[in-house]
Symmetry: C2
Subunit: 307 residues, 2 copies
């Protein structure tokens, strides 16, 4: 059996593209590694795979009979494979806070405070002096443009920008910003999509000091796109909170042009956003200027305020 | 305030030399980082610092008023600073199994399944294209020779060997194996040392599935050196077990020339070594051929057997 590279549940473009890019690299240096996914792909990710000629990675929930897994784009147990204890974690490549995955044997971790896992995968290619194929470079580049919101996110570092420039050259793409905008237009096409699908499109669970918190995010080129469905979204996260026995569920509606977010909130704590972000929730929602990154701006203050 | 690079409690040569080497590297790239230590140094480490002209790093237990810490040579909370929750973990550089340190913000982790943290620090110098000063290269080299038992340990990888060769060249040391043997002779000079000091010289705590396990190790060029004190060592780990409320305390007496270890055992489980290593404890001790590495050969089977 091969080993697998696998990203988080509710896979985003970074999870999928880094699993593909890492698997190719590992295979080139003599390890049999295949990409896997833990769920259905978003329109944005399907756009990237289609653009660069990739099949969807295998949908795989059970890793017991494998040679182990490389965990990409997360290090929280709750976000990864449910049967992680039945396999060996060979490595972690990630750019988030350090989560609660532990191992009983030494492993390989490449974790950096950069904007995207694929920026780290590029460092791994460079370390091993392995050439990146054109189509993999294109997919990696799109994942970085997605995670950094075309460099607008506060998570974006100079390493991410340099990496995109290098990958664009390898992939032969002249105007990568135009491609990025095309990608975000695909991502912003929400009309006609079932409300629950939108809530879950980029949704992550967190265990914050014993409280189960769910945070979804939609990055849109204009928040007007969801004006008509906002009441339905609010009703749906309230339903989800009950179904999933959450302490709080947040849906972060990010306006990538205005560079801020409206956060829809249902929580056991009425003062949740007041305490975490200094802005009170009114009628189940709050606009917070400048908030674009769940990882860097939404999660840490929330985690600290729940300590 | 600066940030600090800090290794594990009961510091060994790798913890101290990697803290020194990392601090210099970080300072060169513009971060104010100082080395710290959590305890007294062993004769081996003092030999290395003296040989290459270093002062002992600052003894420091409180990191609350610092700019954060780089955790080196461990990732288990129990092994690191007691007040880790009062500071920010900026990064982890380690070569052990992944422990239970978590963070609330993104960080930098360089973790590799190699024989020594200093082998990874060398990769970091290469990544940042920073030249390693002669004396730091010498200290790093000695730490690798110590952790890999001059390449005899099963934890030793080709990366460690290549790294030692490169560092020896930078440090201008022709016969690094002779220096390694000289170092292990210093390490083997146990006569006249209080028994508790020997037990604690290289001692680590582990939380294995809720059981507190303490494992000490003495690497000696000949086990005859402790023949006269074996009964006292056995009595002392029994006393330590009660004092520290341990499930088990093991003292691994490694014969680096015969390449095996006699393990002294006190445990709540009579069949502890039988289940973990397939060799029964008789009269509180058991010889296990080929066992040289706590990290790779002692800990994982024990952890698995206690699951």
């Amino acid at each position: 059996m091969p080993a697998y590279a696998v990203g988080h549940k509710v896979p985003d473009s970074d999870s999928i593209c880094s699993a593909i890019a890492l698997s190719y690299l590992k295979t080139q240096i003599g390890e049999d590694v295949q990409p896997a996914r833990l769920g259905e792909l978003s329109p944005e990710t399907l756009f990237i795979l289609d653009k660069f000629g990739f099949e969807q990675p295998e949908l795989k929930m059970n890793f017991a009979d494998t040679d182990g897994i490389y965990v990409v784009d997360h290090s929280d147990r709750i976000q990864g494979p449910d049967d992680i204890d039945n396999t060996t974690v060979l490595g972690i490549i990630d750019h988030h806070k350090l989560g609660d995955i532990t191992t009983s044997t030494p492993l390989e971790c490449w974790i950096r405070p950069v904007g995207c896992t694929n920026t780290i995968i590029k460092m791994m290619y460079d370390f091993h002096s392995v050439e990146i194929p054109k189509n993999i470079a294109g997919a990696m580049m799109c994942a970085i443009l997605s995670d950094t919101v075309i460099f607008k996110s506060p998570t974006c570092t100079t390493a991410d920008i340099k990496c995109v420039e290098a990958l664009a050259e390898i992939a032969g793409i002249e105007d990568y910003k135009a491609l990025g905008m095309e990608m975000f237009e695909v991502k912003s096409a929400v009309a006609g999509t079932p409300v629950r699908e939108l809530v879950m499109r980029d949704f992550k669970d967190f265990n914050m000091h014993g409280n189960k918190i769910g945070i979804g995010q939609l990055e849109l080129i204009n928040l007007n796109l969801v004006d008509d469905m906002k009441a339905d979204l609010q009703a749906d996260i309230a339903a989800l909170k009950t179904e999933g026995d959450y302490h709080s569920v947040l849906l972060v509606l990010t306006d990538i042009m205005k560079e801020g977010s409206e956060v829809l909130v249902v929580s056991n704590n009425d003062d949740l956003t007041e305490k975490a972000y200094g802005s009170a929730t009114v009628d189940g929602k709050v606009w917070i200027d400048g908030i674009m990154s769940r990882k860097k701006q939404v999660v840490p203050p929330l985690q600290d305020s729940l300590a």
